[in-house]
C-alpha cells in the first residue's frame, strides 16, 4: 500500500512538472477554454521573475503588426524544462497556442508544450 501510494505520488509529480505553472497569481485572467494560435517573430524574451515573457510580433494580412505580450512560467520552472535565458532570441519565428487575456487585449499565457519554431521543430530537444 505504501509503495502504491509512493508510485502514485511520484507519477503525479512527473505530470505536474510537465505543465506550465503560474507561481504568483491566478491564471483565471486567461481564457483557457478558448486558446488561439499565433505565428510571429520574437521581439524579446524576458527570462525574469515572477514570470517570463515572450513579446511576439504578429503580422496578419494587410494589417499593422501587433506585439503580443505572452506570460509564461517562472524561470525556475522553465529551467526544469531545459530552458534558459538564451533559448529564444530576437528574430526567432514561432508558432504558439496561447490562452488569451479575457479583455481582448493582445496578451495571453504560453506554455512550453504548445510552443514550437515556425517550421515545427521543438524549442528544446531534450529535457
Amino acid at each position: 500500500m505504501g509503495r502504491l501510494l509512493t508510485a502514485i505520488l511520484v507519477s503525479a509529480a512527473l505530470f505536474v512538472c510537465g505543465k506550465a505553472v503560474m507561481a504568483h497569481h491566478s491564471f483565471a485572467m486567461f481564457d483557457t477554454e478558448n486558446p488561439i494560435e499565433l505565428e510571429g517573430t520574437v521581439q524579446e524574451f524576458k527570462f525574469t521573475s515572477p514570470h517570463t515573457f515572450i513579446l511576439l510580433v504578429v503580422k496578419k494580412d494587410g494589417a499593422e503588426p501587433v506585439t503580443w505580450n505572452l506570460e509564461g512560467a517562472s524561470p525556475s520552472a522553465l529551467v526544469r524544462d531545459g530552458w534558459s535565458s538564451k533559448t529564444l532570441k530576437p528574430g526567432d519565428e514561432l508558432q504558439m497556442k496561447i490562452d488569451p487575456l479575457r479583455s481582448g487585449a493582445p496578451g495571453g499565457a504560453w506554455g512550453v508544450q504548445k510552443t514550437k519554431f515556425k517550421d515545427g521543430r521543438p524549442i528544446v530537444v531534450s529535457h
Binding site: V16, A23, H24, H25, S49, P50, N69, S103, G107
Partner: protein
Amino acid sequence: MRHRSTIGVFTLIAALCMTVAGARAFDESKYPNWKGQWLRVGGGQGAPWDPTKPWGPGQQPPLTPQYQAIFEANLRDQAAGGQGTDPSYRCIPVAMPRVMIAVQPMEIVVSADTTYVMLELFSMLRRIFTDGREWPKELEPSYAGYSIGKWEDSDGDGRYDTLAVETRAIKVPHSYDSSGIPFHEDGEAIIKERLYSDKANPNILHNEITSIDNALTRPWTVTRSYRRDASPRPLWSEYVCTEDNRHVRIGNENYVIAGDGLLMPVRKGQQPPDLKYFQQTQR
C-alpha cells in the same frame, strides 16, 4: 612556566568540553535526513491548496457563510479577468501556509535549536524554533509567521521522525491558494503541521497541515507531499518578484503593463485609471 602550562591544560580541557557539548547539542543521527531539494507533489494547473481536489470551488473549503460569500465574489471577479482577493499578484508574498505548497523548490536544514525551511518562491525563510521556548507575549505579524516546533519519535526507535509545528502571527490578508480562498481578516489563524518521511520511501516527505481560523466552521486539514530531487547537485534559481512584475493595481482595478510600457486592460470593457491629478497639472 609551570603556571603557563596549567593555563594551557585548562584551555585544552575547556575546548574539548565545548566540542563535546556541541556534539551533544546536535547529534545528526537522531534526526531524519531531509537534506536536498524538495519539489511539490500533486495538484495541477493553478496549484490548488488541497492537491486532491480541483482548483477553485472544487476545493470545498469549510468557510463560514460570510467568508463563503467573500470567496464566491472573488471567483466572479477572477472569472471576469480580475485577481479577486489574492494579493500575491502585486508581489505581496504568499504567506503561511500557502507557501508550503512549494510551487517552487524548498530546502530544509535541521539543527538542534532551529529547523530552517528555505523556499525559493518569494525567497521566503521559515525559522521553526525547536529550542523549547515559550510563545512570546507579543508577536509582530509576518508573512512566514512565528513557528515553534517539537521533534517526536513516533515509533520509539530512538530517532526523531516527525516535526510537529505550530505557526501564529501571520500577516493578513492572505489566501490558501491562487483561487483566493480567504483567511479571516482578524489575523488570528493558527497553522499546525506534522512533517514526516514516507514509511516506504524516504525521498517522499508528507506534511499534514491543519488550519484553525475564524473564517472556517471547523479546522481544515490538508496533506501535501514533496519528493526529493534525485540529483546530488540540484538546480536552484533566484526568485525576485519585483524584478519584472507586470501586474499593477491602480485605484480598485488591476491592469497589466505591456511590453511597450503602457497599460493593458484585463477585463472586457475595463476603463483606464482615473487621471484627475494629471488633468489638474495641465490646467
